[in-house]
Symmetry: D2
Subunit: 159 residues, 4 copies
Amino acid sequence: MELRYLTPLTPGEQRAHGLPEPQPLAMADRVRFSELDPLGHVNNKAYLDWFEAVRVRHFETMCLPHYGDTPAPRLLLRNASIHYMREMHRDESYIATARATSFRSSSYIVEQQLWSGGTLRARLEAVMVLMCPDGAGKQPIPDALRRVLVARDGATEAS
Amino acid sequence: MELRYLTPLTPGEQRAHGLPEPQPLAMADRVRFSELDPLGHVNNKAYLDWFEAVRVRHFETMCLPHYGDTPAPRLLLRNASIHYMREMHRDESYIATARATSFRSSSYIVEQQLWSGGTLRARLEAVMVLMCPDGAGKQPIPDALRRVLVARDGATEAS
Amino acid sequence: MELRYLTPLTPGEQRAHGLPEPQPLAMADRVRFSELDPLGHVNNKAYLDWFEAVRVRHFETMCLPHYGDTPAPRLLLRNASIHYMREMHRDESYIATARATSFRSSSYIVEQQLWSGGTLRARLEAVMVLMCPDGAGKQPIPDALRRVLVARDGATEAS
Amino acid sequence: MELRYLTPLTPGEQRAHGLPEPQPLAMADRVRFSELDPLGHVNNKAYLDWFEAVRVRHFETMCLPHYGDTPAPRLLLRNASIHYMREMHRDESYIATARATSFRSSSYIVEQQLWSGGTLRARLEAVMVLMCPDGAGKQPIPDALRRVLVARDGATEAS
Protein backbone atom coordinates (compact mmCIF):
# COMPACT_ATOMS: atom_id res chain seq x y z
CA MET A 1 0.00 0.00 0.00
CA GLU A 2 1.41 3.37 -1.02
CA LEU A 3 2.05 5.80 1.82
CA ARG A 4 -0.04 8.96 1.62
CA TYR A 5 1.85 11.99 2.93
CA LEU A 6 0.55 14.90 5.03
CA THR A 7 -2.95 13.44 5.36
CA PRO A 8 -4.54 11.63 8.31
CA LEU A 9 -4.10 7.90 7.75
CA THR A 10 -6.96 5.45 8.26
CA PRO A 11 -6.57 2.65 10.83
CA GLY A 12 -6.09 0.25 7.92
CA GLU A 13 -3.33 2.36 6.42
CA GLN A 14 -1.62 2.67 9.80
CA ARG A 15 -1.60 -1.11 10.20
CA ALA A 16 -0.38 -1.62 6.64
CA HIS A 17 2.59 0.64 7.37
CA GLY A 18 3.63 -1.15 10.52
CA LEU A 19 1.76 0.46 13.42
CA PRO A 20 0.47 -2.38 15.60
CA GLU A 21 -2.19 -0.19 17.24
CA PRO A 22 -3.83 2.50 15.14
CA GLN A 23 -3.85 5.93 16.77
CA PRO A 24 -6.51 8.66 16.64
CA LEU A 25 -4.23 10.75 14.43
CA ALA A 26 -1.31 9.54 12.31
CA MET A 27 0.34 11.42 9.46
CA ALA A 28 3.27 10.58 7.21
CA ASP A 29 6.12 12.81 6.12
CA ARG A 30 9.74 12.38 5.07
CA VAL A 31 13.14 13.43 6.41
CA ARG A 32 14.47 16.63 4.83
CA PHE A 33 18.06 17.40 3.94
CA SER A 34 17.99 20.35 6.34
CA GLU A 35 17.23 18.04 9.27
CA LEU A 36 20.48 16.09 9.14
CA ASP A 37 23.12 16.62 11.81
CA PRO A 38 26.91 16.74 11.47
CA LEU A 39 26.98 12.92 11.66
CA GLY A 40 24.40 12.40 8.93
CA HIS A 41 21.53 11.40 11.22
CA VAL A 42 18.40 13.39 11.79
CA ASN A 43 19.11 15.97 14.46
CA ASN A 44 17.30 15.59 17.77
CA LYS A 45 15.39 18.80 17.30
CA ALA A 46 13.72 17.82 14.03
CA TYR A 47 11.64 15.18 15.82
CA LEU A 48 10.11 17.93 17.91
CA ASP A 49 8.90 19.79 14.83
CA TRP A 50 7.36 16.61 13.49
CA PHE A 51 5.61 15.84 16.76
CA GLU A 52 4.49 19.44 17.13
CA ALA A 53 2.84 19.49 13.72
CA VAL A 54 0.74 16.43 14.55
CA ARG A 55 0.03 17.54 18.13
CA VAL A 56 -1.24 20.94 17.00
CA ARG A 57 -3.37 19.33 14.33
CA HIS A 58 -4.78 16.84 16.83
CA PHE A 59 -5.92 19.71 19.01
CA GLU A 60 -7.21 21.98 16.28
CA THR A 61 -9.06 19.51 14.11
CA MET A 62 -10.06 16.87 16.68
CA CYS A 63 -10.50 18.82 19.95
CA LEU A 64 -11.36 22.41 19.11
CA PRO A 65 -14.58 21.47 17.22
CA HIS A 66 -15.95 20.29 20.59
CA TYR A 67 -15.58 23.72 22.19
CA GLY A 68 -19.01 24.95 21.13
CA ASP A 69 -19.37 28.57 22.24
CA THR A 70 -16.34 28.46 24.51
CA PRO A 71 -13.53 30.63 23.08
CA ALA A 72 -10.50 28.70 21.81
CA PRO A 73 -7.82 28.42 24.51
CA ARG A 74 -4.17 29.22 24.14
CA LEU A 75 -2.23 25.96 24.17
CA LEU A 76 0.93 25.81 26.28
CA LEU A 77 3.52 23.03 26.29
CA ARG A 78 4.44 22.52 29.95
CA ASN A 79 6.54 19.36 29.81
CA ALA A 80 7.98 17.24 27.06
CA SER A 81 9.72 13.92 27.56
CA ILE A 82 11.22 12.43 24.47
CA HIS A 83 12.79 9.02 24.17
CA TYR A 84 15.01 8.45 21.14
CA MET A 85 15.01 4.76 20.27
CA ARG A 86 16.56 4.32 16.86
CA GLU A 87 18.10 6.88 14.59
CA MET A 88 16.38 8.25 11.51
CA HIS A 89 18.33 8.75 8.29
CA ARG A 90 18.20 10.81 5.15
CA ASP A 91 15.09 10.48 2.96
CA GLU A 92 13.35 8.00 5.29
CA SER A 93 9.59 8.29 5.47
CA TYR A 94 7.96 8.29 8.88
CA ILE A 95 4.55 8.33 10.53
CA ALA A 96 3.99 10.57 13.55
CA THR A 97 0.98 10.03 15.80
CA ALA A 98 -0.95 11.73 18.60
CA ARG A 99 -3.33 10.42 21.26
CA ALA A 100 -4.60 12.01 24.47
CA THR A 101 -3.94 9.52 27.26
CA SER A 102 -5.28 11.44 30.27
CA PHE A 103 -6.62 14.81 31.27
CA ARG A 104 -7.28 17.00 34.29
CA SER A 105 -9.54 20.03 34.59
CA SER A 106 -7.45 22.25 32.31
CA SER A 107 -4.59 20.13 31.01
CA TYR A 108 -4.07 16.91 29.14
CA ILE A 109 -1.29 14.51 28.25
CA VAL A 110 -0.55 13.59 24.66
CA GLU A 111 1.38 10.46 23.80
CA GLN A 112 3.13 10.57 20.45
CA GLN A 113 4.95 7.90 18.49
CA LEU A 114 7.28 8.02 15.54
CA TRP A 115 7.33 4.99 13.26
CA SER A 116 9.46 4.25 10.24
CA GLY A 117 9.85 1.00 8.34
CA GLY A 118 7.74 -0.80 10.90
CA THR A 119 9.90 0.11 13.90
CA LEU A 120 9.28 2.61 16.64
CA ARG A 121 11.97 5.30 16.41
CA ALA A 122 10.94 7.75 19.13
CA ARG A 123 8.24 8.47 21.66
CA LEU A 124 7.15 11.77 23.16
CA GLU A 125 4.92 12.49 26.11
CA ALA A 126 3.74 16.08 26.33
CA VAL A 127 1.78 17.87 29.04
CA MET A 128 -0.41 20.53 27.46
CA VAL A 129 -1.99 23.29 29.55
CA LEU A 130 -5.03 25.19 28.29
CA MET A 131 -4.86 28.90 29.07
CA CYS A 132 -7.56 31.52 28.62
CA PRO A 133 -7.14 33.35 25.28
CA ASP A 134 -5.74 36.39 27.12
CA GLY A 135 -3.19 34.19 28.92
CA ALA A 136 -4.52 35.33 32.29
CA GLY A 137 -5.39 31.93 33.76
CA LYS A 138 -6.27 28.35 32.99
CA GLN A 139 -9.38 27.41 31.06
CA PRO A 140 -11.31 24.23 31.92
CA ILE A 141 -11.79 21.58 29.24
CA PRO A 142 -15.46 21.64 28.14
CA ASP A 143 -17.54 18.57 29.06
CA ALA A 144 -18.20 17.76 25.41
CA LEU A 145 -14.48 17.44 24.76
CA ARG A 146 -13.90 15.42 27.93
CA ARG A 147 -16.38 12.85 26.67
CA VAL A 148 -14.68 12.74 23.27
CA LEU A 149 -11.22 12.29 24.79
CA VAL A 150 -12.51 9.28 26.73
CA ALA A 151 -14.52 7.71 23.92
CA ARG A 152 -12.24 8.37 20.96
CA ASP A 153 -8.71 8.57 22.38
CA GLY A 154 -9.25 6.20 25.30
CA ALA A 155 -8.04 8.90 27.68
CA THR A 156 -8.58 8.56 31.41
CA GLU A 157 -9.52 11.34 33.79
CA ALA A 158 -6.71 11.94 36.27
CA SER A 159 -7.89 12.82 39.75
CA MET B 1 -6.56 16.78 -9.54
CA GLU B 2 -5.32 15.81 -6.09
CA LEU B 3 -1.86 17.11 -5.19
CA ARG B 4 0.69 14.36 -4.56
CA TYR B 5 3.18 15.34 -1.86
CA LEU B 6 6.94 14.68 -1.71
CA THR B 7 7.06 13.05 -5.14
CA PRO B 8 8.24 14.51 -8.47
CA LEU B 9 5.21 15.85 -10.30
CA THR B 10 4.59 15.14 -13.97
CA PRO B 11 4.35 18.08 -16.41
CA GLY B 12 0.59 17.47 -16.51
CA GLU B 13 0.32 17.62 -12.74
CA GLN B 14 2.41 20.79 -12.63
CA ARG B 15 0.09 22.48 -15.11
CA ALA B 16 -3.01 21.25 -13.30
CA HIS B 17 -1.72 22.90 -10.11
CA GLY B 18 -1.04 26.25 -11.69
CA LEU B 19 2.51 26.20 -13.05
CA PRO B 20 2.40 27.77 -16.52
CA GLU B 21 5.69 26.16 -17.57
CA PRO B 22 6.52 22.71 -16.23
CA GLN B 23 9.97 22.43 -14.68
CA PRO B 24 12.44 19.51 -14.76
CA LEU B 25 11.76 18.89 -11.07
CA ALA B 26 8.75 20.00 -9.04
CA MET B 27 7.66 18.62 -5.67
CA ALA B 28 4.79 19.53 -3.37
CA ASP B 29 4.84 19.95 0.40
CA ARG B 30 2.89 21.92 2.99
CA VAL B 31 3.68 24.69 5.48
CA ARG B 32 4.45 23.40 8.98
CA PHE B 33 3.44 25.00 12.24
CA SER B 34 7.11 25.35 13.18
CA GLU B 35 7.73 27.55 10.12
CA LEU B 36 5.48 30.42 11.17
CA ASP B 37 7.01 33.68 12.30
CA PRO B 38 5.91 36.03 15.11
CA LEU B 39 3.42 37.63 12.69
CA GLY B 40 1.82 34.34 11.62
CA HIS B 41 3.43 34.20 8.17
CA VAL B 42 5.98 31.68 7.06
CA ASN B 43 9.41 32.87 8.19
CA ASN B 44 11.88 33.85 5.49
CA LYS B 45 14.23 31.04 6.35
CA ALA B 46 11.75 28.22 5.81
CA TYR B 47 11.69 28.92 2.07
CA LEU B 48 15.40 28.15 1.98
CA ASP B 49 14.87 24.70 3.45
CA TRP B 50 12.17 24.00 0.90
CA PHE B 51 14.32 25.14 -2.00
CA GLU B 52 17.33 23.26 -0.64
CA ALA B 53 15.44 19.97 -0.48
CA VAL B 54 14.46 20.22 -4.14
CA ARG B 55 17.85 21.57 -5.26
CA VAL B 56 19.73 18.73 -3.58
CA ARG B 57 17.33 16.19 -5.06
CA HIS B 58 17.72 17.74 -8.51
CA PHE B 59 21.45 17.26 -8.29
CA GLU B 60 21.47 13.81 -6.75
CA THR B 61 18.77 12.13 -8.78
CA MET B 62 18.98 14.04 -12.06
CA CYS B 63 22.66 15.08 -12.36
CA LEU B 64 24.76 12.61 -10.38
CA PRO B 65 23.64 9.59 -12.48
CA HIS B 66 25.50 11.22 -15.40
CA TYR B 67 28.85 11.20 -13.59
CA GLY B 68 29.88 7.75 -14.80
CA ASP B 69 33.18 6.83 -13.15
CA THR B 70 33.90 10.37 -11.99
CA PRO B 71 33.66 10.56 -8.18
CA ALA B 72 30.70 12.55 -6.85
CA PRO B 73 31.67 16.16 -6.18
CA ARG B 74 31.04 18.12 -3.03
CA LEU B 75 28.33 20.68 -3.77
CA LEU B 76 28.84 24.20 -2.48
CA LEU B 77 26.31 27.01 -2.44
CA ARG B 78 28.23 30.13 -3.48
CA ASN B 79 25.45 32.67 -4.01
CA ALA B 80 21.75 32.71 -3.31
CA SER B 81 19.37 35.45 -4.39
CA ILE B 82 15.85 35.09 -3.15
CA HIS B 83 12.92 37.25 -4.10
CA TYR B 84 9.89 37.09 -1.82
CA MET B 85 6.77 37.91 -3.80
CA ARG B 86 3.75 36.99 -1.77
CA GLU B 87 3.54 35.65 1.73
CA MET B 88 2.79 32.03 2.56
CA HIS B 89 0.44 31.15 5.40
CA ARG B 90 -0.27 28.34 7.76
CA ASP B 91 -1.20 24.97 6.24
CA GLU B 92 -0.86 26.17 2.65
CA SER B 93 0.42 23.60 0.17
CA TYR B 94 3.17 24.63 -2.20
CA ILE B 95 5.20 23.33 -5.12
CA ALA B 96 8.95 23.99 -5.23
CA THR B 97 10.88 23.55 -8.46
CA ALA B 98 14.46 23.37 -9.77
CA ARG B 99 15.98 23.92 -13.18
CA ALA B 100 19.58 24.49 -14.26
CA THR B 101 19.61 27.62 -16.39
CA SER B 102 23.34 27.87 -17.22
CA PHE B 103 26.70 26.33 -16.40
CA ARG B 104 30.41 26.97 -16.60
CA SER B 105 33.26 24.48 -16.35
CA SER B 106 32.69 23.65 -12.69
CA SER B 107 29.61 25.56 -11.57
CA TYR B 108 26.00 25.93 -12.54
CA ILE B 109 23.05 28.17 -11.82
CA VAL B 110 19.76 26.76 -10.55
CA GLU B 111 16.55 28.70 -10.87
CA GLN B 112 13.89 27.74 -8.36
CA GLN B 113 10.26 28.77 -8.06
CA LEU B 114 7.72 28.44 -5.29
CA TRP B 115 4.09 28.19 -6.33
CA SER B 116 0.96 28.02 -4.21
CA GLY B 117 -2.65 28.30 -5.27
CA GLY B 118 -1.59 29.15 -8.81
CA THR B 119 0.54 32.16 -7.86
CA LEU B 120 4.28 32.53 -7.74
CA ARG B 121 5.26 33.21 -4.12
CA ALA B 122 9.06 33.30 -4.30
CA ARG B 123 11.98 32.78 -6.63
CA LEU B 124 15.54 31.75 -5.86
CA GLU B 125 18.62 31.80 -8.03
CA ALA B 126 21.52 29.79 -6.67
CA VAL B 127 25.10 29.50 -7.89
CA MET B 128 26.41 26.02 -7.14
CA VAL B 129 30.12 25.22 -7.26
CA LEU B 130 31.34 21.66 -7.69
CA MET B 131 34.34 20.86 -5.52
CA CYS B 132 36.52 17.76 -5.55
CA PRO B 133 35.37 15.29 -2.90
CA ASP B 134 38.33 16.25 -0.69
CA GLY B 135 37.41 19.93 -1.02
CA ALA B 136 40.84 20.73 -2.45
CA GLY B 137 39.78 22.31 -5.74
CA LYS B 138 37.02 22.59 -8.27
CA GLN B 139 35.83 19.62 -10.29
CA PRO B 140 34.74 20.02 -13.94
CA ILE B 141 31.23 19.01 -14.94
CA PRO B 142 31.45 15.79 -17.01
CA ASP B 143 30.52 16.12 -20.68
CA ALA B 144 27.64 13.68 -20.32
CA LEU B 145 26.03 15.91 -17.71
CA ARG B 146 26.65 19.06 -19.75
CA ARG B 147 24.67 17.54 -22.60
CA VAL B 148 21.85 16.60 -20.25
CA LEU B 149 21.69 20.08 -18.72
CA VAL B 150 21.29 21.55 -22.20
CA ALA B 151 18.82 18.99 -23.54
CA ARG B 152 16.65 18.43 -20.46
CA ASP B 153 16.87 21.66 -18.44
CA GLY B 154 17.37 24.01 -21.39
CA ALA B 155 20.54 25.33 -19.73
CA THR B 156 23.00 27.43 -21.70
CA GLU B 157 26.76 27.26 -21.48
CA ALA B 158 28.16 30.52 -20.11
CA SER B 159 31.45 31.57 -21.62
CA MET C 1 41.62 43.39 22.63
CA GLU C 2 38.99 41.02 24.00
CA LEU C 3 35.90 40.59 21.83
CA ARG C 4 32.69 41.73 23.51
CA TYR C 5 29.73 39.57 22.49
CA LEU C 6 26.14 40.65 21.75
CA THR C 7 26.87 44.35 22.19
CA PRO C 8 27.38 47.04 19.54
CA LEU C 9 31.11 47.38 18.94
CA THR C 10 32.81 50.75 18.76
CA PRO C 11 34.67 51.75 15.57
CA GLY C 12 37.93 51.13 17.44
CA GLU C 13 36.84 47.64 18.46
CA GLN C 14 35.73 46.86 14.93
CA ARG C 15 39.13 47.83 13.56
CA ALA C 16 40.94 45.90 16.28
CA HIS C 17 39.04 42.77 15.25
CA GLY C 18 39.85 43.04 11.59
CA LEU C 19 37.16 45.18 9.97
CA PRO C 20 38.92 47.62 7.65
CA GLU C 21 35.94 50.01 7.57
CA PRO C 22 33.83 50.34 10.72
CA GLN C 23 30.11 49.95 10.13
CA PRO C 24 27.18 51.76 11.81
CA LEU C 25 26.28 48.54 13.64
CA ALA C 26 28.54 45.56 14.32
CA MET C 27 27.95 42.82 16.88
CA ALA C 28 29.90 39.70 17.76
CA ASP C 29 28.58 36.22 18.43
CA ARG C 30 29.86 32.67 18.13
CA VAL C 31 28.96 29.59 16.08
CA ARG C 32 26.66 27.18 17.92
CA PHE C 33 26.77 23.40 17.77
CA SER C 34 23.24 23.37 16.39
CA GLU C 35 24.36 25.40 13.37
CA LEU C 36 26.72 22.79 11.93
CA ASP C 37 25.77 20.91 8.77
CA PRO C 38 26.34 17.25 7.87
CA LEU C 39 29.86 18.13 6.70
CA GLY C 40 30.83 19.95 9.89
CA HIS C 41 30.60 23.47 8.46
CA VAL C 42 28.08 26.07 9.48
CA ASN C 43 24.91 25.48 7.47
CA ASN C 44 23.94 28.12 4.95
CA LYS C 45 20.80 29.02 6.82
CA ALA C 46 22.51 29.96 10.07
CA TYR C 47 24.11 33.01 8.44
CA LEU C 48 20.62 34.32 7.73
CA ASP C 49 19.69 34.21 11.41
CA TRP C 50 22.86 36.07 12.29
CA PHE C 51 22.28 38.74 9.69
CA GLU C 52 18.61 39.00 10.63
CA ALA C 53 19.40 39.64 14.28
CA VAL C 54 21.69 42.56 13.41
CA ARG C 55 19.40 43.90 10.66
CA VAL C 56 16.38 43.96 12.98
CA ARG C 57 18.43 45.63 15.68
CA HIS C 58 19.74 48.21 13.21
CA PHE C 59 16.17 49.16 12.34
CA GLU C 60 14.73 49.09 15.83
CA THR C 61 17.45 50.86 17.75
CA MET C 62 18.94 53.09 15.04
CA CYS C 63 16.02 53.90 12.72
CA LEU C 64 12.79 53.62 14.69
CA PRO C 65 13.79 56.35 17.19
CA HIS C 66 13.60 58.81 14.26
CA TYR C 67 9.95 58.03 13.57
CA GLY C 68 8.58 60.67 15.94
CA ASP C 69 4.79 60.42 16.01
CA THR C 70 4.62 58.19 12.92
CA PRO C 71 3.50 54.70 13.90
CA ALA C 72 6.17 52.00 13.57
CA PRO C 73 5.97 50.27 10.19
CA ARG C 74 5.89 46.57 9.56
CA LEU C 75 9.24 45.55 8.06
CA LEU C 76 9.19 43.19 5.10
CA LEU C 77 12.17 41.44 3.54
CA ARG C 78 11.63 41.65 -0.22
CA ASN C 79 14.96 40.43 -1.61
CA ALA C 80 18.03 38.87 -0.10
CA SER C 81 21.25 38.17 -1.98
CA ILE C 82 23.86 36.32 -0.02
CA HIS C 83 27.37 35.59 -1.14
CA TYR C 84 29.22 32.88 0.75
CA MET C 85 32.94 33.53 0.60
CA ARG C 86 34.68 31.31 3.08
CA GLU C 87 33.24 28.66 5.33
CA MET C 88 32.68 29.11 9.04
CA HIS C 89 33.53 26.34 11.49
CA ARG C 90 32.57 25.16 14.91
CA ASP C 91 33.13 27.57 17.81
CA GLU C 92 34.44 30.38 15.62
CA SER C 93 33.55 33.90 16.73
CA TYR C 94 32.20 36.30 14.16
CA ILE C 95 31.13 39.90 13.76
CA ALA C 96 27.98 40.69 11.76
CA THR C 97 27.31 44.21 10.55
CA ALA C 98 24.53 46.35 9.05
CA ARG C 99 24.54 49.57 7.06
CA ALA C 100 21.85 51.21 4.93
CA THR C 101 23.39 51.92 1.54
CA SER C 102 20.43 53.48 -0.27
CA PHE C 103 16.72 54.20 0.11
CA ARG C 104 13.62 55.07 -1.85
CA SER C 105 10.36 56.53 -0.61
CA SER C 106 9.31 53.45 1.35
CA SER C 107 12.16 50.95 1.08
CA TYR C 108 15.84 50.74 1.79
CA ILE C 109 18.80 48.50 1.08
CA VAL C 110 20.94 47.09 3.89
CA GLU C 111 24.41 45.82 3.24
CA GLN C 112 25.64 43.28 5.76
CA GLN C 113 29.05 41.70 6.26
CA LEU C 114 30.23 38.73 8.23
CA TRP C 115 33.80 38.83 9.50
CA SER C 116 35.78 36.23 11.38
CA GLY C 117 39.49 36.14 12.14
CA GLY C 118 40.05 39.23 10.02
CA THR C 119 38.54 37.75 6.84
CA LEU C 120 35.22 38.46 5.18
CA ARG C 121 33.21 35.23 5.22
CA ALA C 122 29.90 36.32 3.72
CA ARG C 123 27.99 39.33 2.46
CA LEU C 124 24.26 39.95 2.31
CA GLU C 125 22.31 42.63 0.53
CA ALA C 126 18.71 42.92 1.63
CA VAL C 127 15.87 45.03 0.25
CA MET C 128 13.54 46.03 3.08
CA VAL C 129 10.06 47.38 2.41
CA LEU C 130 8.21 49.43 5.01
CA MET C 131 4.53 48.57 5.22
CA CYS C 132 1.81 50.32 7.17
CA PRO C 133 1.23 48.65 10.55
CA ASP C 134 -1.99 47.07 9.23
CA GLY C 135 -0.12 45.70 6.19
CA ALA C 136 -2.46 47.55 3.83
CA GLY C 137 0.11 49.56 1.89
CA LYS C 138 3.57 51.03 1.95
CA GLN C 139 4.61 53.66 4.46
CA PRO C 140 7.01 56.47 3.48
CA ILE C 141 10.28 56.85 5.38
CA PRO C 142 10.02 59.99 7.58
CA ASP C 143 12.27 62.89 6.61
CA ALA C 144 14.11 62.76 9.91
CA LEU C 145 15.16 59.19 9.26
CA ARG C 146 16.14 59.96 5.65
CA ARG C 147 18.55 62.59 6.93
CA VAL C 148 20.00 60.13 9.45
CA LEU C 149 20.48 57.40 6.85
CA VAL C 150 22.48 59.83 4.72
CA ALA C 151 24.53 61.35 7.51
CA ARG C 152 25.22 58.30 9.65
CA ASP C 153 25.11 55.32 7.27
CA GLY C 154 26.31 57.17 4.16
CA ALA C 155 23.20 56.01 2.30
CA THR C 156 22.25 57.57 -1.01
CA GLU C 157 18.75 58.39 -2.15
CA ALA C 158 17.82 56.27 -5.16
CA SER C 159 15.72 58.06 -7.72
CA MET D 1 28.01 43.11 37.75
CA GLU D 2 27.97 43.06 33.98
CA LEU D 3 26.97 39.75 32.40
CA ARG D 4 29.72 38.18 30.27
CA TYR D 5 28.30 36.32 27.28
CA LEU D 6 29.44 33.00 25.78
CA THR D 7 32.09 32.39 28.44
CA PRO D 8 31.99 30.06 31.46
CA LEU D 9 30.85 32.11 34.46
CA THR D 10 32.61 31.89 37.80
CA PRO D 11 30.62 30.78 40.86
CA GLY D 12 30.66 34.40 42.00
CA GLU D 13 29.25 35.62 38.69
CA GLN D 14 26.57 32.94 38.76
CA ARG D 15 25.45 34.05 42.21
CA ALA D 16 25.54 37.71 41.23
CA HIS D 17 23.16 36.93 38.34
CA GLY D 18 20.64 35.08 40.43
CA LEU D 19 21.68 31.43 40.52
CA PRO D 20 21.30 30.26 44.13
CA GLU D 21 23.63 27.29 43.61
CA PRO D 22 26.56 27.70 41.21
CA GLN D 23 26.84 24.93 38.62
CA PRO D 24 29.98 23.31 37.14
CA LEU D 25 29.26 25.06 33.85
CA ALA D 26 27.10 28.14 33.26
CA MET D 27 27.13 30.36 30.19
CA ALA D 28 25.11 33.43 29.24
CA ASP D 29 23.53 34.23 25.91
CA ARG D 30 20.55 36.25 24.68
CA VAL D 31 17.28 35.52 22.87
CA ARG D 32 17.48 36.00 19.10
CA PHE D 33 14.78 37.40 16.86
CA SER D 34 14.72 34.11 14.94
CA GLU D 35 13.74 32.23 18.10
CA LEU D 36 10.37 33.93 18.61
CA ASP D 37 7.19 31.99 17.93
CA PRO D 38 3.93 33.18 16.35
CA LEU D 39 2.81 34.49 19.76
CA GLY D 40 5.98 36.50 20.39
CA HIS D 41 7.47 34.14 22.97
CA VAL D 42 10.58 32.08 22.51
CA ASN D 43 9.63 28.88 20.71
CA ASN D 44 9.95 25.65 22.64
CA LYS D 45 12.65 24.34 20.36
CA ALA D 46 15.08 27.20 20.91
CA TYR D 47 15.62 26.12 24.52
CA LEU D 48 16.94 22.81 23.22
CA ASP D 49 19.62 24.53 21.15
CA TRP D 50 20.67 26.55 24.16
CA PHE D 51 20.87 23.51 26.40
CA GLU D 52 22.64 21.50 23.71
CA ALA D 53 25.38 24.11 23.30
CA VAL D 54 26.18 24.02 27.02
CA ARG D 55 25.80 20.23 27.31
CA VAL D 56 28.20 19.60 24.43
CA ARG D 57 30.68 22.05 25.88
CA HIS D 58 30.41 20.45 29.31
CA PHE D 59 31.35 17.11 27.78
CA GLU D 60 34.08 18.34 25.46
CA THR D 61 35.90 20.76 27.73
CA MET D 62 35.20 19.24 31.15
CA CYS D 63 34.90 15.48 30.50
CA LEU D 64 36.88 14.62 27.37
CA PRO D 65 40.21 15.87 28.84
CA HIS D 66 39.93 12.98 31.34
CA TYR D 67 39.87 10.33 28.62
CA GLY D 68 43.64 9.92 28.46
CA ASP D 69 44.48 7.48 25.67
CA THR D 70 40.90 6.25 25.29
CA PRO D 71 39.45 7.40 21.98
CA ALA D 72 36.70 10.02 22.24
CA PRO D 73 33.26 8.40 22.26
CA ARG D 74 30.31 9.34 20.13
CA LEU D 75 27.74 11.05 22.34
CA LEU D 76 24.10 10.05 21.93
CA LEU D 77 21.08 11.74 23.46
CA ARG D 78 18.81 8.93 24.59
CA ASN D 79 16.18 10.80 26.62
CA ALA D 80 15.35 14.43 27.20
CA SER D 81 12.77 15.69 29.66
CA ILE D 82 12.16 19.39 29.56
CA HIS D 83 10.01 21.36 31.93
CA TYR D 84 8.98 24.84 30.78
CA MET D 85 8.38 27.03 33.81
CA ARG D 86 8.12 30.61 32.69
CA GLU D 87 8.20 32.03 29.19
CA MET D 88 11.20 33.81 27.73
CA HIS D 89 10.75 36.96 25.67
CA ARG D 90 12.54 38.90 23.01
CA ASP D 91 16.04 40.19 23.82
CA GLU D 92 16.12 38.66 27.29
CA SER D 93 19.51 37.44 28.47
CA TYR D 94 19.72 34.00 30.02
CA ILE D 95 22.19 31.67 31.70
CA ALA D 96 22.17 27.97 30.76
CA THR D 97 23.91 25.43 32.97
CA ALA D 98 25.06 21.79 32.95
CA ARG D 99 25.89 19.34 35.73
CA ALA D 100 26.25 15.57 35.68
CA THR D 101 24.03 14.22 38.44
CA SER D 102 24.62 10.48 38.06
CA PHE D 103 26.31 7.93 35.84
CA ARG D 104 26.35 4.25 34.98
CA SER D 105 29.03 2.26 33.21
CA SER D 106 28.53 3.94 29.83
CA SER D 107 25.91 6.64 30.31
CA TYR D 108 25.32 9.67 32.45
CA ILE D 109 22.54 12.08 33.33
CA VAL D 110 22.95 15.82 32.87
CA GLU D 111 20.75 18.27 34.70
CA GLN D 112 20.42 21.64 33.02
CA GLN D 113 18.83 24.86 34.18
CA LEU D 114 17.84 28.02 32.38
CA TRP D 115 17.86 31.21 34.42
CA SER D 116 16.87 34.72 33.45
CA GLY D 117 16.40 37.77 35.65
CA GLY D 118 16.91 35.65 38.75
CA THR D 119 14.11 33.18 37.99
CA LEU D 120 14.29 29.62 36.76
CA ARG D 121 12.64 29.49 33.34
CA ALA D 122 13.18 25.88 32.31
CA ARG D 123 14.86 22.66 33.36
CA LEU D 124 16.12 19.78 31.26
CA GLU D 125 17.24 16.33 32.25
CA ALA D 126 19.12 14.45 29.56
CA VAL D 127 20.35 10.86 29.46
CA MET D 128 23.56 10.67 27.44
CA VAL D 129 24.91 7.38 26.14
CA LEU D 130 28.56 6.99 25.20
CA MET D 131 29.05 4.94 22.05
CA CYS D 132 32.29 3.65 20.57
CA PRO D 133 33.59 6.01 17.87
CA ASP D 134 32.43 3.57 15.17
CA GLY D 135 28.95 3.46 16.72
CA ALA D 136 29.19 -0.32 17.13
CA GLY D 137 28.61 -0.55 20.89
CA LYS D 138 28.75 1.31 24.17
CA GLN D 139 32.01 2.61 25.59
CA PRO D 140 32.63 2.58 29.35
CA ILE D 141 33.37 5.86 31.14
CA PRO D 142 37.06 5.89 32.10
CA ASP D 143 37.83 5.71 35.83
CA ALA D 144 39.55 9.09 35.78
CA LEU D 145 36.36 10.75 34.51
CA ARG D 146 34.17 8.85 36.98
CA ARG D 147 36.22 10.33 39.81
CA VAL D 148 35.91 13.80 38.34
CA LEU D 149 32.14 13.52 37.91
CA VAL D 150 31.84 12.63 41.60
CA ALA D 151 34.27 15.21 42.92
CA ARG D 152 33.47 18.17 40.69
CA ASP D 153 29.85 17.71 39.63
CA GLY D 154 28.67 15.90 42.75
CA ALA D 155 27.39 13.05 40.59
CA THR D 156 26.44 9.73 42.14
CA GLU D 157 27.11 6.33 40.69
CA ALA D 158 23.83 4.60 39.83
CA SER D 159 23.85 0.88 40.46
